[in-house]
C-alpha cells in the first residue's frame, strides 16, 4: 500500500517513486502535477513571503489612486475601495471584495510565514497541520491580480474626465501580485508537506 499513490484528480493508482531531483511528476492519465522536487529550499519561499508582507503593508497604508477634477480631489486606499461599496449599502458585495483583496492575501502571507519560519529553523509551528490546510484553501480566494486589472479598467474610465494620479499603493500592489504568484508556485501543498518532513504521497 505505501507503494501506491493516487492521483487526486482522476483517482488513478501510480507506483510510488522517490521525489524527483528537480521539476515535478504528473499523473499519467490526466496530467495533474503530483510530486515536487526534493531539493527546493525553504529560503526562497520565506524571502518571498517577507517581500510580500512589506508590499502588503505599503499597499494598504498608502493611497491607491488620487483623482483630481475641477479643483476637487479624492483618493482612496485598498480597503477604502471595499468600504466604498459598504457605504452604498451593498454590504455583502463589500464583504466579498474585502475578503478577496485584503483578508485572503493577508492570511496567505501571514500564515505562510508563521508556518515556514519555524520549519526553517527546524521546528514546527503550533497548529501547523490546520494552518497548512488553511493556506491551500484560502489561497484560491486571493484575487490580487484581478483587482489590479480592475483598477486599470477603472482608471481608464476615470481618465476620461479627471486627472488621475496612481499612488504608492498601486505600484506596491503590482509588485505584490508578482510576489504572490511566485510564492504560490513554490509553495504547493506537496511542497509544504515535504518541508515539514512528513512529505511523500
Amino acid at each position: 500500500m505505501p507503494l501506491v499513490m493516487l492521483c487526486p484528480a482522476c483517482d488513478l493508482a501510480h507506483r510510488r517513486t522517490a521525489a524527483p531531483p528537480f521539476g515535478r511528476t504528473r499523473c499519467v492519465r490526466c496530467h495533474k502535477p503530483l510530486q515536487v522536487a526534493r531539493n527546493t529550499t525553504i529560503d526562497t519561499a520565506i524571502a518571498l513571503a517577507v517581500c510580500a508582507s512589506v508590499l502588503m503593508f505599503l499597499a494598504n497604508v498608502y493611497p491607491l489612486v488620487a483623482m483630481h477634477v475641477n479643483g476637487a480631489s479624492r483618493q482612496t486606499t485598498l480597503i477604502g475601495a471595499a468600504l466604498g461599496l459598504y457605504d452604498q449599502h451593498y454590504k455583502m458585495l463589500a464583504v466579498l471584495v474585502f475578503l478577496t483583496i485584503f483578508v485572503a492575501p493577508l492570511l496567505h502571507v501571514v500564515t505562510l510565514l508563521y508556518v515556514l519560519v519555524p520549519l526553517w529553523i527546524g521546528r514546527s509551528a503550533y497548529g501547523q497541520n490546520f494552518l497548512i490546510r488553511l493556506i491551500t484553501r484560502v489561497r484560491p480566494w486571493s484575487f490580487t491580480e484581478v483587482f489590479l486589472l480592475g483598477t486599470v479598467v477603472a482608471l481608464v474610465r476615470l481618465a476620461k474626465f479627471a486627472h488621475v494620479v496612481p499612488g504608492i499603493a498601486l505600484w506596491s500592489c503590482v509588485l505584490l501580485m508578482l510576489c504572490l504568484s511566485a510564492m504560490t508556485s513554490r509553495t504547493s501543498s506537496e511542497q509544504l508537506w515535504q518541508w515539514t518532513g512528513r512529505g511523500g504521497q
Partner: protein
Amino acid sequence: MTEPATPGTPAGDELPAAEPIPSTRRRIPLIWTLPVVVVLAGAFVVIHEKLAQGTSIEIRFHNAEDLEPNKTKIRYKDVEIGEVSDIHVAKDRKEVIVTAMIHRDASEYLVDDTSFWVVRPRVSAAGITGLGTLVSGAYISVDVGKSANESKRFVGLDVPPIVTAGQPGREFILHTDDLGSLSIGSLVFYRHIVAGQVVAYTLDPGGSGVTLKVFVNAPFDAFVAAGTRFWQASGIDMSLSSDGIKLRTESLTSILQGGVTFRALPGSAFTPVAGDTAFTLYSDEDRAMRPIETEIRTFVMYFRGSLRGLSAGAPVELHGIGVGEVRSVDVEYDRDAAALRFPVVVDLYPQRIRGRKAGGTRLTAATEGPETASRVLIDSLVAHGLRAELKSGNLLTGQKYVDLDVHSEAPAEAIWWKEQPAVFPTTSNGLDEIQDSIAGIARKLNKVPFDQVSYRLISTMTALEQTLKSMDQLMQHVDGTLAPQIQATLAEAQGALKNAKELLGQDAPLQSDLGATLLQLSRAAKAVTGLVEYLERHPESLLRGKPGDSQ
C-alpha cells in the same frame, strides 16, 4: 590494468584523480537580497512620506458647514497648502475642531496671528464673493500673520477679514453720533473713487455715540491730512431748505449700503497724519465742509407774525450771503406785558463780514481788540438800518429764513447789548398788511344781505324758464299748423309779457303791481304748461281740437 609506462610520462597510479567541485553552500542564499531590497525600499517610502507629511493643526469654527474631512482643501492665495483631515465636535459642544494637515513647505505660515476662514458663496456689503465654490466645493482660505511665534491652534473667523495683513494703506478712527446706514464693509470714497472700507464699529461706552474704524487703501491714505473732513455719503441726501431741494448721492453702491466720503477742506494746510488718527464723521457734506467759525455772536430776535416754516438751522443771510444760523425758535410768556413773545435765537458769524474803517483799512481784532471789532461793526451796521426780517425762502415748502438788510426808512434802533443774549432789532415785511386788507374786504362782503332777495322772484324765474323750454319742444313737433288755442294763449302770454314790460318800464308801477303781474304770469305759464302736457298726450287734438270744442 597497467600499461608499460611510456618513457617521459608519470605512472598511472601516480595520476591524480579529478576531484569533484566542492559545492559551496552559501550561508545565505542569493534570494535574500530580494526581501532586503524590498524592506529597504519600503522603509525609504515610509520615511519619505513621514517627512513630507507636514504639520497637523487645529482650527476651531462654530460649525462644520461645507467642510468635509479628506476633501476640503486649505489655500493661501489660492495655492493649496493643506487639507482637512478630521472634524469633530469640541468637548464643550460650542465649537467644532477641524484638524488639518498643512504641507511641509507651508509650515512657516503657521504663526499665531494667521487667520483662517471658510470661503463659500457669500453676499456681503462688498458684493457677492466665492461663487466658484459652488462647483469646486468650499475651501478654507488663509491670511498669514506677521508674528514670529509659531502656533498650531487657531480660531477660525466667521467672515472673511475686510483687510488682509500686508494690504497697503492705513486705518483711521471716526467718531459719530449715529451709524446711519453704514455697516462693516461699507465703502469709503475719495472723489467718488472707492478708496477703502469700514472695518469695524463699536458703540462708545455710555452709548453716547459710535466709533468706526475705516481702512483707507494706498495711495488714497496719503490724502488724509489734518484738515480732511469725513462725512456719511449714505444713500440719497435730500434736503428741503430755503434754498430749495437739493439731491446728492455718492454712488449706486452707497445708496444701497451706505458709504463714507472724505475730502480735504479747501484752504486747509496739508499736514499728513499718522494712522489711527481720530476724525469726526459728519452726517452730510454741508456740515462737514463748514469752515470752523472762530467767532460766534448770539442774538435773540423777536418777530411779528407766524414763525411757521422757520426751523433751527435755517440760514441768516445778508443780501443772500450766509452770515449766520438760527439756533432755536422758542415761546416766551411775558408776565409783565401779559403777552406771548417768540424769541428766535440766532448765531451770527461776524468774521464773514469784513469791516473796513474810513480810509480803507480793515477793522480787525488786531486794530480794535477782539471783542470790540465785531461789536463796532455790528453797531454801525444797525445804526445805518440793518434789520432782521423773516422771509419766505421757498414758497413750495414754506421754509422761512432770516434776512438781514439795510432798511433806510426803519425807525432808529440799537442793539441791546445788556441783555443776554443781545436783542437784535427786527422789522416786519409787507405781507402782513396785505393779509389785513384782504381780511377787511372779506368782512365787508360778509355784510351784504344776500338772503333778503325775494324768494318768489327766484321761483318765478325758474317757472318761466321751464315754460320756454317746453314751448321749444312743442314747436319742433308741430310743422306749421298752430291751433287757435295756442295762438290765443301765446297772444295772452305776449300780452302779459307786454304788460310786464310796461309795468317794468319807465313808468313802472310800484313793487306791489309787479307782484300782481307776476301772479298773472305764473297763471299763464301754468295754463301753457297744462296745454302742452295735454297736447303731448293727445297730439291729434291739434287737428281735431278738444272734444266738445268747435274749430
